[in-house]
Amino acid sequence: MNLFKYRVRTLFKYKDLVKELVGRDLKLKYRRSFLGYVWSVLNPLLIMIVLTLVFSQMFRRDIKNFPVYFLTGRTMYDFLKNSTTSAMKSVTGNSALLRKVYVPKYIFTLAKVTSAMVDMVFSLGAMVIVMVATGAPFYWTALLFPIVVAQMYLFCCGLGFFLAQLNVFFRDIQHIYSAVLTAWLYLTPIMYPIERLGETLTIVVKGFNPLYYYVAQFRDLIYYGQFPGSRIFWGGWLIAFLTLGIGVWSFQRSKDKFILYI
């Protein structure tokens, strides 16, 4: 209990640092670019337009309002991808600093996931624009989206911690993970309706693809205007906490050895 208190206190002590690091990430990302933060919105918008042109023909009958369907999935996937890839490099990337000053190492990982989340929230602007443009209905359930974001955040933190510590010891995890991400993109119903996967694969994806839980919940709230089913809702929370637990545990276990490898 004492240790827990201590941990909470250090986190509190460094909360301003997390804020500052997030601020730096966002600031530097768009410094010197003409449109600045607008890119957070514009980027998904442009990708959406391209993909809509291609896929909406393909799934014309299965999906009504493809742009919104696609964006609800893509936003979640982008959050996962951006947060975990930058989290993975968070410890190794700050090696110069970590070798010279004592800073709790998880701060950097946390900051990366947080800035990805902030970025994601900005990009929701794109979705609103698309919904207005395509005349999609707005449901009150959409206001509940922070519930899904919270789950995603915990999940990404967990995965980020796990990848960050692994990357210290094995740098090739970066290459492996980028392949995993690609597979993950296609194994999640983002651009296609899940029914297209066939029976077996549908069961596998529905059961074992964590991202499916979040995409499905998010879609329920925004696209279908209904409250998510209890299986994916509670499953989502369970997976989030489980992943966070594994991530924190693996990070804790090896964090004292980082300094020898970075």
Binding site: K13, Y14, D16, L17, K19, E20, L21, R24, K27, L28, R31, A96, L97, L98, R99, K100, V101, Y102, V103, F169, F170, R171, D172, I173, D256, I259, L260, Y261
Partner: protein
């Protein structure tokens, strides 16, 4: 129970020194399969204990790799103990590297906040202290420019300000103060002392034993990860220094033994690998004599030595510009190495004014706006006439009667006073016989026909001179002579003549200099190789920016950094590096007496700047060496 701020108990730190670092999965799997994943462990610290009370200042001494930095890093929490415990109380400010965690893309303002928070402060706390930090760092004007444009000195200043402005309980300093310019170092030392008297505990690592003695009351001596000694700073430092010197002696002994074992015998022993000794050695060797050149410094070249610092040739003992009107000498050196076409055109800074040197029409235009030689001559004559000095009683009057008030006050007075360390009024008039004035627009400092600097530095030239000669650096003549007197027949001695005779008639006097050299992360610091500072309040006389001596190199390989040296005059005392002989009457008389002794030394010839106690330009020293070697070989 005593109250310790830092309590280190039986600390052991282990590093994994496996020959190759295994950081990818394939290798890991292969090594695992072959059972090669052995850990070659290395204990950086072994059972180290250290107890520090509040307000104490501890210095850590030891050779490279003795574990000093490891200990500091463990205390500041960066490394974790393998065995043992480390307990600390209070806020720690680690100055292991100044500005660690600066982000080059952010502005100074943003970096101050970021850096403060990395050190664990809250935003409101930083806001409170922001002004204080900026003030100490003295960077107000640059607050909003990205820090990547800062010089290393500016970054260090900022880092130090952030780290120390927060009144830490424990300050950990790891050699960071060895960078930065002199003024900044002084400011840092002052601040550290101020903090110490305010109850801050200090842990300090430095290779400079004197610094440790000055700042610390206690010291810990680490040797290969083990505590050799801990206690009062004075005692520990002295013991450490003694052992260091012992180690150096042993190294030299080994070298000597090796040479003895080889059993070579030389015709000549040449003492001093400077220009005189090297030219002499070349001439003797070319005539079939076997020579050994020794030098007590660790390098050849004497004072013309240039050191390669990442492609910049640094004139370690002051600016050397080769100039001569003697075609033979010019031909001689050009056969050895290529010279560039450098022409020395120094600039003088007086307050916020800038003047070309030597005193020429450009200078006078800058000073008075006068454009023709006639106007200038009239102006100077009028200024001299105003003073109506008949027989100058001191250097000031002498100079005034030569160049008039304006030139004297702005360009001569402060500079001369700095050089001699006393007022111009207290200096004898004969020090300045003439102050040449040039009534043409010509900034070339020298009047000689040929001028230049060897491409690639003087060391290259000297290396060429010593091509086929045995050389031993780091070897003192008097040490060498003790056991190797049978190794040579004759000696060419270019060291201090009074030292040769063990100062039996007293010390000859010299003027000395001190150079403070630093590397700056900017491409061009002052735009000229030599800038003189003629104000007395500025403690240095000249700033040399070495890359400008080699414009051809810079054109070919532009460098984003530069190396500058500040030249501080200082009183000479026995033991200090002698630069310029003081050829006044008293010293010249003493030299003549030594000269008489030298005549009686049958097998020794004295020569060079120190051996013949006179100031030599480089061309003159080569001339002298050529002449003397001819004489030595009976060619004349």
């Amino acid at each position: 129970m005593e109250n310790y701020v830092v309590d280190v108990k039986d600390l052991t730190i282990r590093f994994n020194l496996s020959n190759e670092r295994v950081d990818n999965l394939k290798e890991y799997a292969i090594k695992l399969a072959k059972r090669e994943l052995m850990f070659q462990e290395f204990l950086a610290l072994k059972d180290v204990s250290l107890k520090v009370k509040k307000g104490e200042a501890w210095g850590l001494v030891g050779t490279n790799g003795s574990g000093k930095s490891t200990l500091l890093k463990t205390i500041s929490g960066i490394l974790k103990p393998y065995r043992g415990t480390v307990k600390t109380k209070g806020k720690i400010a680690p100055l292991i590297e100044l500005g660690a965690g600066f982000d080059g893309n952010l502005t100074a303002r943003e970096n101050i906040f970021l850096n403060g928070m990395v050190l664990g402060h809250s935003r409101s706390f930083m806001e409170e202290h922001f002004d204080e930090i900026v003030e100490f760092a003295n960077l107000k004007r640059f607050l909003d420019s990205p820090i990547k444009n800062f010089s290393s000195g500016m970054k260090a200043r900022l880092g130090f300000s952030v780290a120390t402005m927060v009144d830490p309980d424990i300050l950990i300093v790891d050699e960071v103060l060895e960078v930065g310019d002199y003024q900044f170092r002084r400011k840092c030392n002052e601040r550290m002392r101020q903090m110490l008297s305010g109850g801050t505990t200090l842990l300090f690592v430095s290779h400079n034993i004197e610094n440790v003695k000055r700042l610390c009351d206690h010291a810990l001596w680490l040797d290969k990860g083990v505590v050799r000694m801990a206690g009062p700073a004075e005692e520990v430092c002295d013991a450490y220094k003694q052992e260091q010197e012992q180690a150096i002696r042993e190294r030299k002994e080994k070298r000597r033994a090796k040479l003895r074992a080889e059993g070579k015998k030389y015709d000549y022993l040449i003492v001093g690998a400077g220009l005189y000794g090297s030219v002499f050695a070349r001439e003797l060797t070319r005539s079939g004599k076997r020579c050994l050149v020794i030098d007590k410094r660790e390098h050849i070249g004497g004072n013309v030595y240039t050191e390669d610092q990442d492609g910049i040739q640094v004139h370690k003992y002051g600016a050397h510009i080769f100039h001569t009107s003697n075609p033979q000498v010019w031909k001689y050196v050009n056969k050895l190495t290529e010279f560039n076409g450098y022409i020395n055109a120094p600039v003088a800074v007086y307050k916020d004014e800038l003047y070309n040197l030597p005193f020429n029409m450009n200078t006078f235009y800058e000073m008075w706006g006068l454009k023709t030689p006639k106007e200038v001559k009239e102006r100077i004559a009028a200024q001299i006439a105003d003073l109506s000095i008949e027989t100058p009683r001191n250097l000031e009057e002498q100079a005034l009667s030569l160049v008039g008030r304006d030139v004297y006050e702005k360009l001569v007075k402060g500079y001369t006073e700095k050089q001699w360390g006393r007022d111009c009024k207290d200096l004898p008039p004969f020090l300045i016989r003439r102050l040449p004035l040039r009534f043409t627009f010509d900034n070339n400092y020298f009047n000689d026909r040929y001028q230049g600097i060897p491409v690639g530095g003087y060391t290259k030239l000297v290396e060429k001179l010593l091509d086929n000669v045995d050389v031993m650096t780091g070897m003192d003549f008097f040490e060498y002579r003790k056991e190797n007197a049978h190794m040579y027949d004759r000696v060419i001695y270019t060291g201090m003549i009074d030292e040769y005779f063990d100062y039996c008639l007293g010390h000859l006097e010299y003027r000395s200099l001190r150079f403070v050299t630093e590397r700056l992360e900017e491409e061009n610091y002052q735009g000229n190789a030599v800038i003189n500072y003629t104000q007395r309040e500025i403690p240095y006389t000249r700033v040399i920016e070495h890359k400008h001596f080699a414009p051809e190199e810079e054109r070919e390989n532009p460098k984003p950094f530069t190396v500058v040296s500040r030249e501080y005059p200082r009183e000479w005392e026995p033991g200090r590096e002698p630069y310029y002989p003081v050829n006044d009457e008293k010293n010249n008389r003493l030299y003549e007496q030594y000269r008489a002794l030298a005549e009686k030394e049958k097998n020794v010839r004295f020569g060079g700047r120190l051996g013949s106690y006179r100031y030599y330009d480089m061309d003159k020293v080569i001339e002298a060496a050529l002449k003397d070697s001819d004489e030595e070989l009976g060619r004349r």
